[in-house]
Point group: C2
Amino acid sequence: MTVKQLSLPELTKACVRLGVPGVGLWREPVQAYGAEAAAALVRDAGLAVTTLCRGGFLTAVDPDRRAEALADNRAAIDEAVTLGTDTLVLVSGGLPAGSRDLPAARERIADALGELAPYAGERGIRLAIEPLHPMFASDRCVVSTLDQALELAERFPAEQVGVVVDTYHIWWDDRAPAAVARAAERIFSFQLADWTTPLPAGVLNGRGQLGDGAVDLRAWRERVDKAGYTGPIEVELFNDDLWERDGVELLTEVAERYVEHAL
Amino acid sequence: MTVKQLSLPELTKACVRLGVPGVGLWREPVQAYGAEAAAALVRDAGLAVTTLCRGGFLTAVDPDRRAEALADNRAAIDEAVTLGTDTLVLVSGGLPAGSRDLPAARERIADALGELAPYAGERGIRLAIEPLHPMFASDRCVVSTLDQALELAERFPAEQVGVVVDTYHIWWDDRAPAAVARAAERIFSFQLADWTTPLPAGVLNGRGQLGDGAVDLRAWRERVDKAGYTGPIEVELFNDDLWERDGVELLTEVAERYVEHAL
């Protein structure tokens, strides 16, 4: 998604040229290209699919909407299998229209995980709960801190449900370093983005290029290392300004910034 | 600030007519009107000045800037005395340019409070640390949770340094209800605003009218009650759309919404 201006073939070619060994994919471009074809493309390029983004949106109260969400998540798990990744990232979902009850919404996520985790486990897929910045709590994700994500994950076996550590969402939280240490083997994904201001309207597409903002990226990478994480490190930037640039040039810059600020 | 389209005389007249017994003032309009004159205006109308907003911005590293900030806060304390309020609200300040060290910035706030709290205490003014939503952590306030604000306040006597509970900033935080209970007599101010989306660019002026958003305002009012708070309840909305409306009409609506959603 960092370079969504690139097609999947352009993306895989650029990754290979830059020595980037894996790529996290999003469902929409994968579905548009075809999951089997995308899997073959990435595999033939010698790249790993690090994660699939995203399942989730599990907070519906209405039984039909809830059933739809569960079916969609099972489909996402199947797509993850096809792509050859072991990790599906979950963005939990916001408050249903008219609701003001965050704790109840979080419990509905736990209920849904109870149905999805065994389905995923049987297929070798891990579910990674991503806490999103509190500015998304009402409309996108009622799980706002790494502690909250862990409290959900820890109700399930460590090999089935874990968390995403994304610097953009947790960098401000003085409790997050301890949560990273506690997460340990439940860290299923580690994502980097910097925090830059002013935020754009809607706040979704304002993630900063590595090194441009307030986040001590290397300190977070070291914390995740110390917690025992040895998996891939993803850079996930949603940014309208970056998306207007040449995709290969941007990806090259991201790789340079990664080395400069996080490695 | 909720009705900043009104002059101070218009504001006091409208408050009296609506039966609103007090008003929180901001330094800029008070300075423009003259602190002595503003004090007389509000006093003659029979209104209380609930709080003065705001001091703070105490995170500078540069010694000259730090000295300037301390002098400005002493001036704010003096203005609070003139206005006849007992509470100065502090917005702590963001990261200095180029810094990525949140813990160090928070310690500089504690150092500055060590200088300001006795000065304020001698003048009968209480300092109220306001945690701001984490989306303001880099550029406005490195104190992002009620727990963090309390950890700062609790280093000082309970009659000198306390906290502001503002629903807009803490509504998403599952630890905040327990922090409200723990804050008890350190709750120096209670402010209401609702959380509405999408947020506008820059995110500062998107506070929602009471009842329009995701916050269970009455539940927070009841928590603050239960913690023993008996002080004034302020409604603080920064909202470009609301500011374009007729100020008296808006203030009337705010009073109605307060009764409907919080009382």
